[in-house]
Symmetry: D2
Amino acid sequence: MIRAGVYGASGYIGGELLRLLLGHPDVEIVSAVSTTRARRRVDSVHPNLRGSTDLCFCAPEDIGDCDVIFTAVSPSVAMELVPQIAHRTRVLIDLSGGFRLRDRAEFTRYYGEHNCPELLGEFVTGRPETHRKELTEADRISVPGCMANAATLALHPLAAEGLIRPEVTIDGRVGSSGSGVTADIMNLHAERSGAMRVFKPQRHRHEAEVAQSTGLTVRMSATGVEAVRGVQTLIRVSAADGARLDDRELRRLYRDYYGGEPFVRIVAQKRGLYRLPEPKILIGSNYCDIGFSTDPEDGTAVLVAALDNLVKGGSGNAVQAMNIRFGLPETLGLGFPGLHPV
Amino acid sequence: MIRAGVYGASGYIGGELLRLLLGHPDVEIVSAVSTTRARRRVDSVHPNLRGSTDLCFCAPEDIGDCDVIFTAVSPSVAMELVPQIAHRTRVLIDLSGGFRLRDRAEFTRYYGEHNCPELLGEFVTGRPETHRKELTEADRISVPGCMANAATLALHPLAAEGLIRPEVTIDGRVGSSGSGVTADIMNLHAERSGAMRVFKPQRHRHEAEVAQSTGLTVRMSATGVEAVRGVQTLIRVSAADGARLDDRELRRLYRDYYGGEPFVRIVAQKRGLYRLPEPKILIGSNYCDIGFSTDPEDGTAVLVAALDNLVKGGSGNAVQAMNIRFGLPETLGLGFPGLHPV
Amino acid sequence: MIRAGVYGASGYIGGELLRLLLGHPDVEIVSAVSTTRARRRVDSVHPNLRGSTDLCFCAPEDIGDCDVIFTAVSPSVAMELVPQIAHRTRVLIDLSGGFRLRDRAEFTRYYGEHNCPELLGEFVTGRPETHRKELTEADRISVPGCMANAATLALHPLAAEGLIRPEVTIDGRVGSSGSGVTADIMNLHAERSGAMRVFKPQRHRHEAEVAQSTGLTVRMSATGVEAVRGVQTLIRVSAADGARLDDRELRRLYRDYYGGEPFVRIVAQKRGLYRLPEPKILIGSNYCDIGFSTDPEDGTAVLVAALDNLVKGGSGNAVQAMNIRFGLPETLGLGFPGLHPV
Amino acid sequence: MIRAGVYGASGYIGGELLRLLLGHPDVEIVSAVSTTRARRRVDSVHPNLRGSTDLCFCAPEDIGDCDVIFTAVSPSVAMELVPQIAHRTRVLIDLSGGFRLRDRAEFTRYYGEHNCPELLGEFVTGRPETHRKELTEADRISVPGCMANAATLALHPLAAEGLIRPEVTIDGRVGSSGSGVTADIMNLHAERSGAMRVFKPQRHRHEAEVAQSTGLTVRMSATGVEAVRGVQTLIRVSAADGARLDDRELRRLYRDYYGGEPFVRIVAQKRGLYRLPEPKILIGSNYCDIGFSTDPEDGTAVLVAALDNLVKGGSGNAVQAMNIRFGLPETLGLGFPGLHPV
């Protein structure tokens, strides 16, 4: 049994980590750390886990010895925490934004000054589809941001093959759970309900991640729409000189890259309600769905990628990376396929 | 021009008061009081009023002289405030729960100890359909609670005519705006979205108001459902001995009582999507819709009443009462009919 | 391996049956019957199953031999279908309303004339908590209606112990998936969104089921609220003469009856957001959560029960019954605990 | 009094036309035409109008003589209808897409063959902000599409001044009412609820309108998000050679163009929840809100425009055009400012 600890266990991504780890046959949760809820029952905060566990949250200082620690906290907390707890665990999987960028200047530009920039280079990106080999031996793993993961998975094959021009735009739409469990007026139901809130029209942090992963020049906006879970990115690309972007080519390309991936599905149908990726049927699942539309006349294409921001955009991706790191079947504990209708 | 002041103007009911008063041909807003937002523009909090006003909130001590003051604050604040500001205005219309109950013991039971119980008897209930005559001369008016108003309007004719047994149950459903603008975790979008939250299974405060207004024994539950605005009450009644509750009788009864009312509509159709009252088409309007279903076999009936909790359940009812008090046409400033679809 | 067939497989409950059976280690789906979608891929209708199956729907006449057939169709179709296919399978589990009532007169009253009333007596109610023993040998099983199941599970211990007066009222709230996949104007998003639609103020069909199961006199209303999945019933009861309904007593009683049940949870907390049962955290799970509130003064109590109408109110209950019938561990294939937040 | 007739009066835009015209002091509705609902009461379809009118729908052949006829029908119906009824009215205001494009080839490309292409040139675009002068004398007016209107109002000043490069991309998000009242499975609540549905990733029809109005090369995608009403367009532009796009410049430019416009508001604040345009607070109102964000480093900007698709994206714009055409104050009947919260 892998002994696992979770920091930030009373948050939304932390709660999903607990759900997935409780259902994982080879994992034992040693500690669910919460500074604000220490000693309260886990199911008092995550009521879906009633009957699944009698675990209580513990204070940070009471964490036990672990084989793997997940840190599902804010970037600023993570920068403080990671150096302190690094010795307590062989494998550390960070889900904050604190260690996603390797370049210090880029980090400063999007997040502000880093506490321990010397650690930035130690983390392997926790995206199995692009870093599977490194992950088998990684002791420090940084799980990508939700929108960054969706967009990178859609762009990676095109960028890697040099099929598109370097300038791309990404329009991200997200549900309210992405803001976390903070009781701020911006997250009030009466204000957030039915919103189409362009909270970051330019320079969203995740664009730096996509740029780092793909080598492209990325412009990303982010809009909150009515949903609790879910991320969708709509990406505009243009064919590089000499390249051709048509449906057949993209379908072939994605099949080459992702045909063997357990959690990437290509969804680009001619007809039907769900002919392009849509987050709502992915709720609770670890899938990232990728689709596309091409315009043969002018060489442009629109890519669409969707996932559950708390799962494939966070906890599920982290568990998949853990499975790889510990030599387990990659899909272990991640079998829930999502619901319809929902 | 009537000079009006609004306390609690940065809240949800306060904002609706400003909207209605800005659109009222005979009212000038002298002061929009907010302790937390003093000196900020009104439209920075109520963005729907952009272009309609350049007003800024003022601190409580800066309120000007008014012909009418509306207090849209919490019961505890109202109990402090009302005695302090009573001398500043001829007419005071309170929208808190602080002065709705006349009986001190009842008040204590549902709200706790009252600050100035001697004032409880001075307030006239601000429900035009049942207190129109008193309102023409009232200087202290207490606007009913949202669910209480809907339920009372539905029950009043039956209770007044002695057609039903004294024991009734009310199942109230409310949108999230009823919780006000407080940033509490219970109002977080991710928690409140899609909820069916029985936040008060028994002894909701509004049952005391309905009991006071109708003389009935009332048991009321309250459930938060997915909506920002809107209240619906489903009420179960039984025929009194010798009385008969059938569709024809109820239709006649309601027509007698409410046929001349500008803001009560009887909605009890055999067919159609909207055959019973539904709050969503009432959003922004001052209507209370009332419907019913009867069971000829066993003498029971179900009454359904709906309204916009911020309008007919608050600000609109207050403006209607003001119109009556100042001898204006009762519908002035209240012409918006609601939307479909929405 | 159990060979299973599903009629109505392109419907919402049918789709959930497919999801659960695909994830079930001891079941093989032989045929997914759909009259309207025959020969199309299952995942073209249920997009959440992409990557989980390559199955196509088949026409009714092409169904293969099965150990168990699930019929997830309308009552009128079920009445035609069941006699025709009875010989094709040892075990038939009907999820329509066509065989839930044992009494022909009651059936006629709520549904109209029955085609094959002689079969009504052959079906065992598919509620493991009350009929586990019979289910081990039942060849004809009728799965309860969604609201009926929630209400019956809440009422059963109280009724069985004679603790309550025979007259109870039930206020049911349901999401839109309960209406099925029919494209009718009443189910249009623009009309149904944000609704509080009292579509059946009195005499909802499910009241007959609850009456049959509990021996009580039941009055049930039904209201559609904003949700896709989910049922919640709010039930009012009064203590029988000499009985006492207080929190301690109800907690003890429910523990006695349901302490060993894998899919019933008692949720009645003093504090917290989810202190009473709420459907949204049950989406996709097979739980029925039951809670209560008591009024020591007057001997009344409010019971609250919630479940996912498509799972514990349909497909999940059916799979649980199948597990019992075939001697398998009862929770097999039903492990998904639900999500938070959602 | 202006005598008005409405075709398509049982549809969503038709219903909003009726609401606005009923509240208009200088208009009398002569006929509300509906082929499917003839002789039924208007308020049986539009329940918000209960108490506002006793009007019944009439069949097309029963339309009376009118000063103005509004045709709120599909493009294909409009192409048939307009030539037939042109003689019955001096002023015809078409709200379909049938007469929005002046170029026949463009029309064919986006809509298919036109029935009466010779009429395409006769229609004046019903956008007061850009065609006010022509509208004072126009007898044939074509009201812009909802997303096209929002995007054009945002782009027009920049394009007219030559400040941006000709290639722009538009990401449109729309509520479900844009699909009209058709009971199709794609509009089922259970399928459409919570959707992020990229129903047109490329070549949405409205891009042709924007191109026609601005002279730009437009690429438009359209995504259905969870909302009944509301359109938001997110537009990416780049500075033309020698031009500078910064906040000050854009603010000045929009003030120059729209400072006197009664229904265009510039919303581009540094802080606050509603710092960029958001449709939900515009529901029921005739406002189009326009905002922007600029990136001084690379010369790109993001424009955001929002409106209620049924009002400023349809009925309200039509009434505003009618007011201009008949020499009335332009805001008559259009005073509702929208709601908050909602």
